[in-house]
């Protein structure tokens, strides 16, 4: 088990490995692009094609003001859902259910946005709170089941994703559907003007600010408060936490509940800042992406934020890459999978680059004492 507070050497290492993982994944992606490109036409080797592909990816993500705005907008929900997964990880829990929590969060936020008639100053907070609450319930159910019955949260959150999808399908075709005769889509009506996030800059809603604030608050809670201390204690050694007087049942439920809250907030911010409504099928793919983001970010807040930017940039730039090269945008998923693979199995990266392993604190097994503490799901480097 790696120490929580790494020394300076390890900290450098914690940055180096993800960076090398990303570089390696991009290199491998380049090989795939090269293979898919027009490499055998005349003397053309196709290297230029790969370069063009990546340049267009970069340009698509950061090449213009609009591109930067788009990348930023995409970063926002990733930050929330990535933090959601990270927070659960810190509590030793694996939240695969960000997608379902995000879905119900969006539903609740949209409902609060179109059905309530409130003054603007409280309507927006109510909308966001509704999303948080719904997400918290969806995550909290898994937490409660884990804490009370031992039902593994990985399984229950997967199942809750599907149940959330069906719930959305039911609500968006039934009670919450936009009944205007012109609407033919399974979606809610648009939310009230007062319930929308204001724009900071043209096209860039205030959710960006919120994401920054929430990231800082999350950092503060996890690392500076007693609650966060309990969370990390439960994550590192639930038995010791119970012994130290932590109510483990409550803390686990809390962890998945707050994790769900953050994911629900992601959904609510998309509703209040981007779509202004909840539409069936708009929340696909966040679940697995957020796991990748949390892992790539080493379960640290700053890591999550940076990884979110990376994933958002990949997704944003994909359009231009596809447009320029007419290569399937699935290449982005391949690159993401490679990044995740190399971050998760960092031995590969270390082996590739001959990095010295972080000084693992090894110790002799003590007679009579079984150090049979199962590893926490995520490598818990600070």
């Amino acid at each position: 088990m790696p120490p929580e507070r790494p020394g300076a050497v390890v900290r450098l290492d914690a940055v180096l490995v993800p960076v090398l993982a990303i570089a390696t994944a991009l290199a491998l992606g380049g090989v795939i692009l090269w293979a898919a490109g027009p490499r055998f036409e005349g003397s053309y080797l196709g290297i230029g094609f790969v370069a063009e592909a990546y340049l267009s990816l970069l340009e698509g993500a950061f090449g213009s003001r609009a591109a930067i705005v788009d990348t930023t907008l995409r970063t926002v929900p990733y930050v929330f859902s990535g933090l959601a997964v990270m927070l659960a990880f810190r509590g030793g829990l694996f939240n695969i259910g960000a997608e379902g929590q995000l879905t119900v969060g969006a539903l609740a936020a949209a409902w609060a946005g179109f059905s309530l008639d409130l003054p603007a100053i409280i309507h927006l907070p109510v909308v966001l709170a509704a999303g948080c609450l719904a997400g918290a319930v969806w995550g909290g159910v898994a937490g409660l089941l884990k804490a009370r019955t031992g039902a593994h949260e990985v399984i229950t959150t997967i199942m809750l994703n599907y149940i959330g999808g069906q719930l959305a399908s039911y609500l968006l075709n039934g009670p919450l559907r936009d009944r205007s005769p012109l609407n033919v889509i399974a979606q809610t009506p648009k939310i009230a003007e007062g319930a929308r996030l204001p724009d900071l800059l043209p096209g860039l809603h205030a959710g960006v600010l919120l994401a920054g604030i929430v990231a800082m608050v999350t950092w503060f809670i996890v690392w500076k408060t007693t609650t966060g201390f309990e969370l990390r204690m439960v994550g590192a050694n639930a038995d010791a936490a119970a012994y130290a007087g932590v109510n483990v049942v409550r803390r686990m439920t809390w962890a998945l509940g707050v994790s769900g809250l953050l994911a629900g907030l992601a959904g609510a911010v998309q509703v209040a800042g981007v779509n202004y409504r909840s539409t069936l099928g708009f929340n696909i793919g966040y679940g697995f992406d957020s796991i990748a983001i949390a892992l790539l970010g080493r379960n640290t807040v700053s890591g999550v934020v940076l990884s979110s930017v990376l994933f958002a940039a990949l997704r944003t730039g994909a359009t231009k890459l596809q447009f320029r090269t007419q290569v399937s945008a699935d290449i982005i998923s391949v690159i993401q999978a490679l990044v995740l693979l190399l971050v998760a199995a960092e031995q590969i990266v270390r082996w590739l680059y001959r990095l010295r392993a972080a000084d693992a604190v090894t110790q002799a097994p003590e007679d009579g004492a079984t150090a049979a503490i199962p590893p926490s799901p995520a490598g818990g480097e600070g």
Binding site: M1, P2, P3, E4, R5, K224, T225, T226, T227, F229, R232, M233, A236, N237, D239, A240, A241, A242, Y243, A244, G245, V246, N247, V361, T362, Q363, A364, P365, E366, D367, G368, A369, T370, A371, A372, I373, G380
Partner: protein
């Protein structure tokens, strides 16, 4: 012993037993190359990071010989044994079987060469039957399917031959600890073990069960099996072994024949100096009741009653020890008192307050401290810093936290103070506690628990796996806590520990208190009788029907 013979013996182990040897056991030697050695370790060294677990260890055993490997917890016995069994590959040195150097890369290699092992933590798959467990790794099959009937027959035959009572079709999960140990022995014999290594086999047994085990082992030895018996209990080593090898701090420090040794001389070899048997302390002056248990009942992990109507009181200013073989309900009792485990009946009051409904935190706030039995699992959060571990029970209180926000400066200040007061050897309070040695880890716990508003203390196995220096320090701390007016309840499997520090000793057997002895009058023998469920001459009477129950399980 020629290689061919050795091969044959490996495949048909019973040959050897049938030609049971009765030759006198040759006297011990640490020299190498003796052709009569069945298994020999030469100059083994094994390191774990900076820790040297085995340093140039040489060790050997002959057929039909019972060799005891004696040493304290942490002396390197388990590492040596793991090397002998192929579970650990040594950094240096070699193993020889029948005089030939072998490399054991896995237990499979060891088993193939006739080395069997009974682990302290049983290697039995709970949902499997006895026969399936015995078969595992050496399964006979017929037309693709396991021929379990053959294994059942083999188990039955081995069992009857060595007087071991096991039902081959029983599910292991349902067996008692003693029975499971027998399954382990049968398993090893079934694999054709010529060398049987037993790791602390009596730790989980009553003295009577242990005596039964010894009979089995003597029978096996008479039959030609070489037995390596790992223990830190002097008495059983003296009574059982033909030869005693003593280890200390990873190295072999001596080798003696039992007839040349006394308990005192062995102890001196083990610890490197005379053991201070009694902690220097004044007579206790108990005052009011702090921990009062009345007719307490607690459920065990797998249903069943672990604590079955226990009543006692611990007063301020005294140390009460609870003796007993592990697994007689002590763990559950301690967990019930500390609030980790719900009670199933009876009452419990702490510091004058009815504890029912109070959670761990509330009890802790009321002044109850708890040194847990398993410090790795319960006592410490290994990846956290020493400082965080030193405040694990008070992190939420001012000045360590203000309105839910932790105060780093205050935490470090407290930590520095405790590190100094309790002589915790750590480079800084910021390093992860997992970097510390076992004794220093335990000191972290002791420091944390004894350093604040202490009114009652429950300490379970407070010195397990701790070096001698730390043991003295810990014992001193417990007595000091008593003298400062705390009620101290010490649960220990080490009788000597209780004899040296407790003012009163209660003995637990099968979930009940079966005897109480004042510390000053206690003897090993008297308490040992209680521990075995036998009536005591001093006081108290055995629970009704204990004798009958006792003999239901094992027929030796």
């Amino acid at each position: 012993m020629s290689p061919i013979e050795s091969h044959e013996r490996t495949t048909t182990p019973n040959d050897l037993r049938q030609s049971a040897r009765s030759a006198p056991i040759p006297s011990g030697t640490r020299g190498t190359g003796d052709p009569t050695f069945l298994l020999e370790a030469r100059h083994l060294t094994k390191r774990y990071g900076p820790v040297i677990a085995n340093r140039d260890v040489s060790f050997a055993v002959r057929p039909g010989e019972i060799v005891a490997l004696l040493g304290e917890n942490g002396a390197g016995k388990s590492t040596l044994m793991n090397v002998l069994y192929g579970m650990t590959v040594p950094d240096a040195g070699e193993l020889a079987i029948d005089g030939k150097v072998v490399r054991l890369r896995s237990p499979r290699d060891a088993l193939a060469r006739g080395i069997g092992m009974v682990h302290q933590h049983f290697m039995l798959v709970p949902p499997f039957t006895v026969a399936e467990n015995v078969a595992l790794g050496n399964e006979p099959s017929r037309r693709g399917a396991i021929d379990i009937a053959t294994v059942e027959a083999r188990v039955a035959s081995l069992a009857s031959r060595f007087g071991i009572d096991v039902d081959p079709r029983a599910i292991v999960r349902d067996l008692s600890v003693g029975q499971q140990q027998r399954v382990e022995i049968v398993k090893a014999l079934d694999r054709g073990a010529r060398v049987l290594i037993l790791d602390e086999p009596t730790a989980v047994l009553t003295p009577q069960e242990a005596e039964g085990l010894f009979r089995v082992l003597r029978g096996l030895a008479a039959d030609g099996t070489a037995i390596v018996f790992i223990s830190h209990k002097l008495g059983e080593v003296l009574s059982l072994a033909h030869r005693i090898v003593v280890m200390r701090r990873g190295a072999v420090v001596g080798e003696v024949l039992p007839e040349d040794a006394t308990a005192e001389s062995l102890a001196a070899m083990m610890v490197g100096r005379e053991v201070m048997l009694r902690v220097d302390k004044s007579p206790s002056t108990p005052t009011e009741d702090r921990i009062v248990v009345r007719d307490l009942r607690v459920a065990g992990d797998h249903g069943g009653v672990a604590v079955d109507g226990v009543s006692f009181a611990v007063r301020a200013g005294e140390i009460v020890g609870i003796a007993g073989v592990q697994g007689n309900g002590q763990t559950e009792l301690v967990e019930a008192i500390s609030g980790l485990r719900p009670t199933a009946g009876g009452t419990l009051s702490l510091v004058g307050v009815e504890a029912h409904g109070l959670d761990v935190r509330a009890r802790s706030m009321a002044g109850l401290a708890h040194v847990p039995e398993d410090r790795q699992r319960h006592g410490l959060v290994l990846p956290f810093s020493v400082a965080d571990n030193l405040v694990l029970n008070r992190y939420h209180l001012p000045p360590l936290a203000q309105r839910g926000v932790r105060q780093a400066r205050a935490i470090v200040a407290v930590a520095r103070d405790l590190v100094a007061r309790f002589d915790i050897r750590t480079p800084s309070p910021e390093v992860p506690v997992q970097a510390l040695s076992g004794g220093n880890k335990q000191k972290v716990i002791i420091a944390r628990e004894l350093s604040h508003g202490l009114r009652a203390l429950v300490a379970a196995q407070p010195t397990r796996g701790v070096d001698v220096g730390s043991i003295e320090f810990i014992h001193r701390s417990l007595v000091d806590a008593r003298d400062a007016g705390a009620a101290v309840l010490v649960v220990s499997a080490e009788l000597d520990e209780l004899l040296s520090i407790a003012d009163r000793i209660l003995v637990m057997y099968r979930g009940r208190i079966v005897g109480e002895v004042p510390g000053s009058e206690a003897t090993r023998e008297g308490i040992g009788l209680f521990m075995a469920g036998g009536g005591g001459a001093t006081q108290g009477s055995p629970p009704a029907g204990f004798a009958r129950e006792d003999d239901v399980h094992y027929v030796n």
